[in-house]
Amino acid sequence: MLRTWVFCLWLLSGLTAATTAGEWQLSELCPAGFTQREGRCYLQTLYQDYGSLQNSGVGGLKTGLPEIRQGFTAQQIDLGRYLFFDPMLSGDGSLSCASCHQPDKAFTDGKGQSLGIHNQLADRSSPSLWNVGFLKTLFWDARATALEEQALGPLYAKHEMGNTPEQLLATLRSNVHYQALFAQAFSETPIRLEQVYTALAAFEASLISLNSRYDLYAHGFHDALTANEIAGMNVFRSFVARCAECHTPPLFSNQQIAVLGTPEPEGKPLDIGAEGPTGDRSLRGGFKVPSLRNIALTAPYMHSGRFKTLRETVEFYTKGRGHAVPKGETLSLHWHIWEPKLTDVELDRLVDFLSALTDQSFMPVIPTRVPSGLPVDNQHNTHVSMGE
């Protein structure tokens, strides 16, 4: 109810905000980890020292990254940042992208199924956005092939952000601050929806997490990991546990679809996963292999958050091939799902190692206020801009 009131007040205040249009200015600086060339932002990372077989961006420690979405302008990225945190993007002004992608949880929300508009349950767990600029497919079922395409899903799903293209465009065009900001980012008027998607993609692709202590080890600084973490890394990449076969460095995902046969939460029917968008029966229960970067911050785990802890999650893989597949279901389980018989100590070490993949040092500045004037949810910020 309170949210509805705020939304109404904001609608009323839309006209009066015009007097302060000049105060909004987009950053001319590329985000952390990016360097500016000819007005556009390009990633700088030690991983650019390395190649990868067939430029695949998968391999071992000193392996190059897959191609990233880059070359956006600083202004486009910064506009995306405001849009990302602005609840105006939802149908009733109650939810922003950051509601389900909260900075302090590595851009997830700590829920098995996210909460959409009017407290409706989303279908799956919200994935982390760190390093999404490297991903060739998006969503758990890999149904989108570009960030711009992905954005359409939650924006317009009736049970997620519940907006419509018409309403979104109308609200943006009637907001003088956004008029000014879009003009700075795209130097053309009026605002178009494609610009919204581009700006969101630009911001999301700027979220880079490649400076964990694991990365320092990978670059040759072997003291950066503890003995237990190194032991865990060795279990992780062993051909008994085989984690690294699908969660392949440097992104800790090989970006393929894998059918694992993980259990659903109590009472929830089997999620058919990639069979949905493809119609391919052999992909039933298949999901995109997620990156494990910042995994310690993104509980609960799996597509529907069935596992509350990392320890439970790694244990799944040693409890027997197909042990959680519902009776009567036949799934084409991935060949690396086998019976590794990992010991309790090995499982503990795996958790130790996974926690060394945490790095949020390039966290963007989270705006204290957004052009719509709607309240920004600051509970989930790791650090808030002092200057804005």
Partner: protein, 479 residues
């Protein structure tokens, strides 16, 4: 670049003349690796080494010292995971006996320019020798047996020679999978479930297998019942097959002796050969341009598996053929053969006559000179990347981020890079309104110093302004 620095860069890029580090019974190989630097040779004397060994450095040689028949033995007791796992470039592993591990005997994860030879590998779990994501590798003179998947598994690699190895009593002898430019020559693959397999596995990040020569191998009596782990792809391979070519392209088969394999000599097939595996629309399923040149084949197919027997009944026989290519596109005329009349066969009726008779012009698929382990770059490039990749995450030039602006740091340390280099090795919380900085003590003193200098020289125009306002002149040489 001047001449002296060019020579310096060249020296850096070459494996140095390393030292020898000796490991004797009672010591550990890992301890030797931990103290080794690029170019070192680790000499492993006879004895028993119960350990898993990880090589995350470049240009390291692990060389067993075999004395009067006594080998250094890595013993996994069926408890340890892998024997040797490397990620570095330029790794050589030779003259080591490896037994009873659960994972692999030798696994590479992305190292280029590897050499694996003269090893004796028995019952080491899933694979014997398994380089993955590596370019330019030589696997020769190894003897492997008792492996529950493939004795030698070249997976997602480029430019590999697999020569003079003996592989037996395993499910698969030699596998070339999702790999390009491979030469499989002069190997002896016998008494496996299947001898030599060249194929594509769908669902892997690198999608193709092409340009493979399988030449002058003995592929004999591969009739061992399949003991692959349930669910593994290899567990789906029928017993008694000399060679399998599945979905791979541009494969040349020449001069092999293929006898006594009870289902078939050579099976050429599309991806439908393996069932119950999730499909991958990016994996092209058809075997294209398979060239079967002259080979010696007889006595294959004496007791084929049920599916093949059923297929052969349509040809009014119950024995399997030397060449079986009866499914889908395997029958197409882009595949070819020489002297087809010499063999029993099924499915090659439309095949064309090969227009080459030998592959002798290809003597190796190894690269001339090493594959570049990475681009050669100067220390300055590396320092710039270090700064922009790590430091810049918290320090923007002229605005507050997680850490104070670079401009403010420049003012504080304007002629004092040592001060920064020391501070970042052991940071203490200095400014009440900023969080403490994480230590960068893992960087060498030299690197810390260079990064500090880089930081002080950043945007000298603006630096000069800052310095001027404080009546100081910054000492900064860089443009």
């Amino acid at each position: 670049m001047n001449k002296i620095s060019l020579i310096f860069v060249l020296l850096l890029s070459l494996p140095a003349f390393g030292k020898e580090i000796t490991v004797k019974d009672g010591g550990t190989i890992q301890a030797a690796i931990n103290q080794a630097v690029s170019g070192d040779v680790i000499l492993i004397h006879p004895g028993t080494y119960r350990e898993s060994v990880y090589v995350d450095k470049d240009n390291i040689t692990l060389r067993g010292v075999v004395k009067e028949g006594k080998w250094p033995v890595m013993e996994g007791d069926h408890k340890l995971n892998d024997a040797i796992l490397y990620s570095g470039n330029g790794i050589t592993i030779e003259w080591i006996k490896i037994m009873h591990y659960k994972g692999n005997a030798i696994m590479g994860q992305s190292g280029n320019n590897y050499v694996i030879r003269n090893n004796w590998i028995i019952d080491t779990g899933v694979y014997g020798i398994f380089p993955q994501f590596g370019k330019n590798g030589l696997i020769e003179y190894n003897v492997l047996s008792g492996i529950e998947d493939a004795a030698i598994y070249v997976g997602m690699c480029d430019n590999v020679d697999v020569k003079h190895n003996e592989v037996f009593d395993s499910v698969a002898g030699i596998e070339i999978e999702n790999t390009r430019h491979a030469l499989v020559e002069n190997n002896y693959a016998h008494n496996n479930t299947a001898g030599i397999l060249v194929f594509i596995t769908p669902g892997l990040p690198i999608k193709t297998t092409y340009d493979v020569i399988v030449r002058n191998n003995f592929v004999v009596d591969n009739n061992t019942p399949n003991f692959g782990a349930p669910g593994s792809i290899v567990s789906k391979v029928p017993v008694g097959v000399g060679m399998v070519i599945m979905a791979a392209d541009d494969v040349k088969i020449e001069g092999n002796i293929i006898t006594g394999n009870q289902t078939a000599g050579i099976v050429i097939t599309d991806l439908a050969f393996i069932t119950d595996v999730a499909s991958d629309k990016e994996s092209e399923p058809n075997p294209d341009n398979i060239q079967v040149l002259d080979n010696l084949m007889f006595n294959n197919g004496s007791d084929p598996v049920a599916e093949v027997k059923a297929a052969m009944l349509t040809k009014f026989t119950t024995t399997g053929p030397d060449i079986l290519a009866n499914v889908g596109s395997a029958q197409e005329p882009d595949n070819c053969i020489l002297n087809a009349e010499r063999y029993t066969s099924f499915g090659i009726g439309k095949w064309s006559q090969c227009d080459i008779s030998t592959t002798a012009d290809v003597t190796t698929y190894l690269l001339k000179g090493d594959a570049a382990p990475r681009d050669i770059e100067t220390t300055e490039d590396r320092v710039a990347r270090l700064y922009k990749g790590i430091c810049a995450g918290c320090h923007a030039y002229n605005l507050r981020m997680i850490g104070p602006p670079t401009m403010a740091i420049q003012a504080q340390y304007y002629e004092n890079p040592e001060g920064i280099a020391d501070y970042i090795a052991n940071p203490v919380k200095k400014r009440p309104d900023f969080p403490a900085m994480p230590s960068q003590g893992h960087l060498s003193e030299e690197l810390r110093m260079k990064v500090a200098e880089y930081m002080l020289c950043l945007s000298p125009g603006k630096l000069a302004e800052v310095a001027a306002t404080q009546g100081q002149v910054a000492k900064c040489q860089q443009p």
